[in-house]
Symmetry: C2
Subunit: 905 residues, 2 copies
């Protein structure tokens, strides 16, 4: 077995930054910092491989681990000049998780480990007789350890939520109340010591075991609990959302404790080398005097800014003191370190520090999470600063983060006339508008019902994670910019305001500034400024930022794969063109059939469907024709010079026949036929499995006149635009094909109509392409045949996924959640292309198709066309273009650019 435990400290380290897979992010970076000569409390990291071994052994430590831990502990003791478990000069340690990917707050930590009846006197002595500090540290250890190690890791957590932690919390509150204290800090040493005795008894009562009074037992209990927490409920839920594999495991960091709560010369804080919300190149952070790190992260006290520059006007007015002002020497040292770290890692760092009695320690550094706006700004700034090159800059913004840049902000015009009902910290930028809910569960429920909600909480905790995901925006009364809510929301690019102290949340009522919000009341948030508004404030888009445009242009210069859009109207097409679409990959003709009146397209379509004879049908088609031509022409006009792929009628006809008796009666009257005729036709058209029924090209085969009408509309529209000096480039796409003869049959119609249109209009050349959706497995299997007729393929990955899995998308609600929960599938294949199955068919289709027709154009127009992982797959598979909804065009452009950059790396 290879090495399992890695020492760091004293300017040395066994590990380094690129060993994140083995040591976790935190451990690898602690090692790197130590090697760089940055002061870190000495410690050691137990590898992620050891965690996997632990699970493989059914929850037992592997042989040999103890020996390595003992050896490393000796090195730590030497570096810190203290000895773990020693009565005279005892070393205290923290035991923390540290996975490859950051999972903030999702796993467990135990601090102050090593405090026992044997070591407490020694610590008191070494802290200059600070008894209050020591008993406070001990009660914290008892609260954490009994919860994390003795209860959760042992699987004893009760279903009613009243676990040992909650009970000890209650005892603490009762003690404060009895003594008339309002905050923890008012508790005296004697009171705390007494409280520890009360805790000890309660722990024994609740868990049936004594609180361990042995340093070694505490150490191993902590290590085991961190391993266990990798498979805790929260961690598993988070991994599912973030797509983090279960077999990565967590490392364990055992590190000397340093205390930010040793009095007013001590402090603790969290900082970012640049502003994570805006990207501004200003050292940015928060600190608390006389506090432990958990106080900052948990959002229990509202922290202060680290420096003058990042103070808000209000903070300035309130006389809030920055670290720069309060402890200038430590701040200068910290500033130097942060600068060194950013240069070293060539990216924005998120750091944790503690000042123990005036001495600065760095506890952590990692690449900081950031909003999309910040990611963009930092990438462009660092490029300007020559810290990174263009390729790296392109890779610095996650395609999914662009969403945020494209997503709404509060309309500034509307906002300037409004007075916020409350102000808080701008934790997640952008705007949000929704109905108030007060619990995560309600947020999830409301979202399922299609509602937009704002989740309002006193403070959030990791249990709220799914509700936060479901909400449009998050608002909390407490917490700082680095609190749980802020970190999570920023990671998702979600609008979030934290620490809005004026809020009073009681049950399902929010009171603020004399106003009341009940569940369901509307509220709007400006997450960029931290302002809360009553009611529905209009939102608007933020995509016209010139820096965004420049970034995208740079990305496009590396991109080799085309990006088109799925659009069915001139308006959508215009918008997509603004977003950079290089053509329309999917124009769904059925979306043209709308309207309620008896002179609108839907009416004529229905008339066509309800025709009894070919003659009646042809008459209805003639009436429908001008509408279709008008719409297809308008779109080609907008896309002037870019190709427009028209998919012929796709859905089964019964979808257009009204179902309700009222509507059937109206239609019967308008058409002058009987309701029974309509019902009967509806029944005739009814199918057991319409997804695999009479639709797509199958309609074109049985009703060639319907295809012909559409083809004529497209070609006449194109010819007229060409006559008017425009560049119309129509592409006719046949849906739901499984056999080349389907394509050949429809091609006869295309050729016939093309000749007629040329004849009629005198236009000599219409640059038409003829192709097919590839959305049926057989079409992939026979791609060589299909390409004999088709000049292009466009993957309809929605249907292709349905057929390949045998999953009806409308019906997966009954089992897909179980499939994801039980890990039968890693991901929803309708969100991201299933590369192993559907992807295999796609590869076959591309290879076979190009074997027949070397210059075959191949695109994708399913919804996965805008999913970054799917875009990357499409690039690797050699697709000519991806096509997605207008809003996702920039995302696809960036994903395609990144795929190209990485392919050349």
């Amino acid at each position: 077995m290879s090495k399992r435990v890695y020492f760091f400290g004293n300017g040395k380290a066994d590990g380094k930054a690129d060993m994140k897979n083995l040591l976790g992010g935190k451990g690898a970076n602690l090692a790197e910092m130590s090697s760089l000569g940055i002061p870190v409390p000495a410690g050691f990291t137990i590898s992620t491989e050891a965690c996997n071994e632990y699970y493989a052994l059914g929850g037992k430590f592997p042989d040999g681990l103890e020996r390595e831990v003992v050896d490393c502990m000796a090195m730590v003791e030497q570096a810190m000049g203290k000895k773990y478990g020693d009565p005279e000069n005892p070393l205290l340690i923290s035991v923390r998780s540290g996975a490859r990917a950051s999972m903030p707050g999702m796993m467990e930590t135990v601090l102050n480990v090593g405090l026992t009846s044997k070591t407490i006197p020694g610590v008191i002595k070494r802290t200059g007789g600070n008894e209050r500090f020591v008993w406070d540290a001990y009660r914290r250890l008892m609260m954490m350890y009994s919860d994390v190690v003795m209860e959760k890791a042992a699987g004893l957590e009760p279903a009613d939520g009243m676990g040992v932690r909650q009970q000890l919390d209650r005892l603490l509150h009762e003690e404060k109340a009895r003594r008339g204290h309002t905050s923890d800090t008012e508790l005296t040493a004697a009171e705390l010591k007494n409280l520890c005795e009360v805790f000890r008894k309660r722990i024994k009562e609740v868990l049936g075991k004594d609180f361990p009074d042995d340093a070694k037992e505490q150490l191993w209990g902590g290590i085991g609990a961190v391993f266990q927490s990798w498979n805790g409920r929260r961690a598993v839920a988070y991994r599912k959302i973030e797509n983090i594999p279960d077999n990565w495991g967590t490392a364990v960091n055992v590190q000397s404790m340093v205390f930010g709560n040793l009095g007013d010369t001590s402090a603790t804080g969290v900082a970012f080398t640049r502003n994570p919300a805006t990207g501004e190149n200003i050292f940015f952070g928060e600190w608390l005097i006389n506090a432990q790190g958990e106080d900052v992260v948990a959002g229990i006290r509202t922290p202060n800014p680290v420096n003058k520059k990042s103070k808000t006007a209000e903070q300035e007015a309130e006389g809030v003191k920055s670290l720069e002002e309060a402890m200038p020497a430590a701040y200068q040292q910290l500033h130097g370190i942060q600068s060194k770290l950013e240069s070293h890692f060539r990216d924005m760092q998120d750091i944790e520090f503690t000042i123990e009695d005036g001495k600065l320690y760095l506890l952590q550094t990692r690449t900081g999470k950031r909003t999309g706006t910040a990611a963009l700004n930092m990438a462009m700034d660092m490029l300007d600063e020559k810290l990174i090159d263009e390729r790296e800059a392109i890779l610095r913004v996650k395609p999914s983060q662009l969403d945020e840049l494209l997503h709404p902000i509060i309309d500034p015009g509307a906002e300037k006339n409004l007075k916020p009902v409350a102000k808080g910290l701008p934790a997640g930028p952008g705007g949000a508008c929704g109905q108030v809910v007060f619990t995560a569960a309600e947020a999830v429920e409301a979202r399922k019902r299609g509602k937009k909600v704002i989740l309002v909480r006193e403070e959030t905790n990791p249990e709220d994670i799914e509700g936060m995901r479901a909400a449009e925006g998050i608002l909390t009364a407490r917490g700082g910019m680095t609190s749980h809510a802020a970190l999570v929301a920023r990671g998702w690019g979600k609008c979030c305001i934290v620490g809005a102290g004026a809020l009073h949340v009681e049950g399902k009522l929010l009171e603020v500034g004399g106003k009341q919000f009940k569940e369901g009341d509307w509220m709007s948030l400006n997450g960029t400024r931290g302002y809360v508004y009553e009611g529905q404030v209009p939102l608007m888009n933020a995509s016209e930022n010139p820096r965004f445009q420049k970034f995208m242009k740079m990305a496009d210069s590396f991109r080799t794969m085309g990006v088109r859009t799925n659009a069915d109207t001139a308006d959508d097409s215009r918008k997509a063109r603004e977003f950079g679409a290089e053509g329309i990959g999917l124009f769904r003709t059925e979306h043209m059939f709308y309207g309620k009146g008896s002179q609108e397209p839907l009416f004529f379509l229905r008339k066509m469907i309800l025709s009894q004879t070919l003659e009646e049908r042809q008459k209805a088609l003639q009436e429908l024709f001008p509408f279709v031509k008008r719409d297809v022409k308008a779109t080609m006009e907008v896309m002037d010079g870019l190709p427009v792929t028209f998919r012929l009628l796709d859905p089964p006809l019964h979808e257009f026949v009204p179902q309700s008796p009222d509507k059937q009666a109206d239609l019967a009257k308008a058409l002058g036929i009987s309701v029974d005729d309509i019902k009967k036709r509806g029944e005739d058209l009814h199918e057991s499995n319409p997804m695999m029924g009479h639709r797509g090209v199958r309609l074109g085969i049985t009703y060639p006149e319907v295809s012909e009408m559409q083809i004529r509309a497209i070609l006449e529209g194109a010819a007229e635009l060409i006559q008017a000096g425009k560049k119309a480039i129509p592409e006719i796409m046949i849906p739901v094909t499984c056999e080349v003869n389907e394509l050949r049959t429809q091609k006869v119609l295309v050729d016939k109509v093309l000749a007629e249109v040329k004849q009629k209009t005198g236009v000599k050349e219409i640059p038409l392409k003829y192709g097919t959706m590839i959305e049926i497995p057989r079409a992939c299997l026979l791609g060589d045949k299909m390409a004999e007729s088709a000049e292009f393929f466009s993957f309809g990955t929605n249907d292709l996924t349905q057929m390949t899995y045998g999953f009806s998308r409308d019906d997966i609600g009954g089992f897909l959640p179980d499939y994801l929960d039980k890990k039968i599938l890693d991901a929803d294949p309708f969100q991201t292309i299933d590369q192993a199955g559907v992807g295999q068919l796609m590869k076959m289709a591309v290879e076979k198709g190009r074997a027949t027709r070397k210059d075959l154009k191949v695109g994708i127009c399913g919804e996965q066309g805008g999913d970054p992982a799917s875009v990357e797959f499409c690039f690797k598979t050699g697709l000519t273009y991806v096509s997605c909804s207008p809003f996702r065009v920039p995302i696809a452009r960036l994903a395609a650019a990144q795929a190209a950059v990485q392919a050349k790396a």
Copy 2:
């Protein structure tokens, strides 16, 4: 361009028997006969390639064809000592179609070509002044030529069915009526000559063109018409039924006319070297004195038997004269020739002959169609005669013909007490029982509505082909054993009685022996004896024939692929075992859930489905358990020593919830819950596309307790049988899988239950196999993964075809007929495996699966498992076994044996 025209005659020939693809069956065999020294009227064959050229040129003769025809005609003239178009000694010719595969009556023929005002006097002279004969020949030419060449080939056929042929027919009838004649033969030379004038005028009136009086024009008109008739409506319909490719084309045989109607020294006939209905080794045939061949085939006159042996008792009693008796010399020559032909071709021959003024000519020989019974008997006889070897014998029976051997006959016990209402010729053996219909269209309609019908016709013609197909049995008043109805019915192995002269059919009423049958009345046929019965006579099976058993045993000795059956009950299993099934490939557990009472399986299943909680569901499952165990155990007991593959619950649950309000109310009462609960649960379970919904393993994932109950029933049943000394070999098959994790999840249950059952029963070893249906494309694509868990695969080709094509089998009615009509698909992929698409996936699955698990067993249990072409494909793809319905087991056994024989050839 290669040679297009092939001469034969005078003991010589350009072609030979193995050139059927080029010369058609008739042409190739005429050449072969000529080379063998058998007297055939000289002629030449225009190749099928020329036919394809003709179509490729848009209906024009290729350059150079005329030259070759002229050259060959000269050789014919020399052979026959006559000259085409010559006034003195004119040669008359026939122009006939001749495709690779026999298509009886589906294409056109023109006889007596070359009769013109210039040649008629010469023919009269050469026939010794037989004016009547010549004018009769001329009126026949006019009737055929005006219909076939001038009207049909020109596309002038009127929709009302009153074409030129019908009009001339009517004129002929009117002429007879006017003269007081009852048959054509009573018409005098003068009357016929006059009729020809009447015909000439009517043809001009109807078609606007003169009847051609030029021999050359007649010749080329005839050739073109035969080419055209390849794409005639009837021919196309027949090819569709018989799966004959469109691009085979037809050859044209131009042959000297010889006349069987030159008086009482002339005759014509059709014969088989053995009896085509029973297989008996007796020269068997029919002849007509003073007649042309069309008179025999068309069934207008009832012909006589060729020899004494094949006379029926009635014919004997009626004093019917055989050819053997009437023309002993010609008969002896014919007998020698037929014997030579059978030895030469080593198979039963179907021959046409004409005796012109005492001189015998063979007009055609071909391998004769035969019933399944005859095929079996001939194969076994010829094997005994050492004419063929075992391999050839096995190939001599079409697997689909076995159907007929397995299909019902009239129960002899019931029959002996019945008196037939009529007797006819036993044209197609076996029994049939159905409701009378009088038109082909009604037969097709009734069949669609699920009715069994007997098609009763005065005589059938090629237009009736689809109705004949749809009927259980066919009964005609006219025609002989070689009439159209007889040939077609025998080809299909369909029960058929022809020439039942006592029948009087008028409109929709059949009168016979004083009884009347109206549409819908029941009738039964014994096609083996030619007896017609009133009402429904019981039918029984005919599979216990020892010769059949011997043949199948011989086939099995060559067969390498296993054959199992799909059976869900002990009774079906027993039957399948009798039919030779080597195990059960598919036991559908859902078929166990039946019964109306509140203590029957279906009730408990519904109770389970309607359970609100896991506890309720488990209780219902416990109640269901004993029924399931009883049924699976009974089947394993029957299959003692053979494997039984149990597929776990497959259909979506909603299929089991009653839909009608009455039934819902009953169920609610029985379960003690509200109707609303049932309705609500039904709605919850409703799916848009249930075929791709919550079914198969997806149920097992969400309700593992349902899988567990079934697994326990199977394993406990097996263990108890083993305890009782039986050999139970259960195989558990998981349906609708698309991902190996599904299999792994269910395997955990299997392992758990297996351990529990062993513990409970003390049985140490249960020989269990665990595997999966492969019916979702993704499972094929990931066959390597699936085989990590599965020990066997079984292709569910029904669903696999649905998903591969995106065709819902329940909904294809809307478009599949169009797809077949328009030749977009060659065949219904649910009937025979689509080798290009579905087959490709199957190959992938087999190759990938065996790459992971070398000894992976692979079977098929979709309905195509009993389709001979699919069985052959499965053999080639390396499947371990096919599984099909009990009735198709012998068919699959034979198909598999034939595949093995052919693979070694």
